[in-house]
Amino acid sequence: MSERGSDDGIDDRRRSNRSLLKRLVTVVVVMFGFGFAMIPFYNKICEVTGLRNIDIADDAVNTQIDADRTVRIELDGNVNKLPWRFRPLTSIVSVHPGELTQVMYEVENTTDRPMTGQAVPSYGPQLAGQYFKKLECFCFAKQSFGPHEKRQLPVVFVVDPRLPANVPTITLSYTFFEVEGNES
């Protein structure tokens, strides 16, 4: 910094500029990688805190059936760019909170090749999700279907009696997605 006059000084400075450049470029490369590293990091956080365990069965809670109250469960089935036929056998059931209920969905692979899919549930209203306890569900695992195979798949659930009183209706909607890499 202080010897700008001589050629030696210029070489020195050029060298120190180069070495700083290398260090700063390293920071840039590391931060680029850091962006990608956030993905497994957040996934781990979600796993540890249980913020996103949609494919794990809920515990069978020992609850009283609240026979005074009836909740209307609307069932819905969708496919995302998947040539399957997917529908609930009954589209509306009425349940009492605390009551163990089983509903059936029917899935048919309409193609000539075996395919694997995964169903993802969502709830309306969103708030109802935490009170909707699924003990068994085809959405907990990938589902494989042969060509033109048709199967009925069960969901067993309990609605938690703590469900707020202002929720008279819960919509349970599944969307089937094809699992990548199962083209063969």
């Binding site: 910094m1 500029n17 993905i39 993802v120 997605f177």
Partner: protein, 530 residues
Amino acid sequence: MSSIPHDHAAGHAHDEHAHHPGGIMRWITTTNHKDIGTLYLWFSFIMFFAGGCLALTIRTELFEPGLQIVDPEFFNSLTTLHGLIMIFGAIMPAAVGFANWQVPLMIGAPDMAFARMNNWSFWLLPFAATLLFASFFVPGGAAAGGWTLYAPLSVQAGMGMDLTIFAIHIMGASSIMGSINIITTILNLRAPGMTMMKMPLFCWTWLITAYLLIGVMPVLAGAVTMLLTDRHFGTSFFNAAGGGDPVMFQHIFWFFGHPEVYIMILPSFGIVSTIIPAFSRKPLFGYASMVYATSSIAILSFLVWAHHMFTVGMPAAGQLFFMYMTMLIAVPTGVKVFNWIATMWRGSMTFETPMLFAIGFVFLFTLGGFTGLVLAITPVDIQLQDTYYVVAHFHYVLVAGSLFAFFGGIYYWLPKWCGRMYNEAMGIWHFWLSMIFFNITFFPMHFLGLAGMPRRVPDYATQFADWNMVASIGAFGFGLSQLLLLYNVVTCIRSGPPAPAKPWEGADTLEWTLPSPAPYHTFETPPVVQ
């Protein structure tokens, strides 16, 4: 890569131009920090008017309820591109332009450390801007999911999004190279005796900004790369269909996005910290505390990103952490505001245009800071999320904050840059018109937001009609007032009266020891700083 021209003696600096190609090639091939600073500033000026035209189209549509002049889809493109162009095209390049001109002059360096890289980092920008504007004309139109490019909308959008992603890659590369240059220049090329704690505060704030940029720009580049591979190469980072998570995008984006807001404001802090002492004829109050406050703002900016996404459903502990961290930023920011006011205290102040803009900055930026504190309160934010209150808040800190400081900086250094004085009366008019129309435009947006008007919507309920009309009138007034600045700058360059070497009595940084206009090559023999 270092381009220190050691074969020229300082004596014949004035006939340097003979060694350079003339005409357009001078500008394309230039490695001179002053030329490149000028290019950056003109580029950002053009982008400022382009982004302003988008804003005025938005305000025309919102002049009254109902859909009048644009399709809702195009309206969404307008808000998205207005944001992207103003942030990446206007504010950030303008800040780099100021750094290019002023950092070497203020620390007594002959040029930037990597002069050819400097040329490259500027000339990437016009290509990025072309991609952004071209995206209006591709099938599906320009990106329309907001400047934040949230997944899943950005995963599903048309090819305008691809052009936007490439534009962001290019602009990111440009800012990273610019930052590396600025850091190296400041750390390695200071004149003898110019210790770190003697540096003008503008250099300090830019040094810290540059570190923020190399820390977070690569993260944004990674985020948009993930968007790109989700869109075209079958990955599922944010694509729920393949097990990805759209909220993840928000986390990664705002890890970049919050430091980014300080990237946009810290250089302005530096400019204001230069102007206020000059026109108060007093040294800056609390110089060291300014340096520490800037550093703590930079560090805290990495710990508050989730306050942009209080409504995604994070645990209460997370909300509390980010709420308190956000409020903590008010402390170093308060130190700065206090120091600016204390600098003016009992100074022999005069109110030339740069000072007016600096005072306007302190006043309105503080107002924007207060609404930021209001938004930091989680339950309030959940109510005000995505309303016009947020729009009002960030325009107070970005327009009345960053932009007003840049206006002040332009008037302050224009005599040094072009050797001529601007028209003071016109500058004062520009300030007062900007000040008044800015508030007419954005103050009513607080009311609209509190009343529940959502942002990024082309139509609205009739109870919002009156204040929207006021805001639209203000926006046109503000936009037209900026033509005064353009006219003033152009007439100053062409025919302004000659400026003395030091037109501001209280200015004490190194650039004022040079003649006006600053010669093409300066400080080839380093000045000695006591």
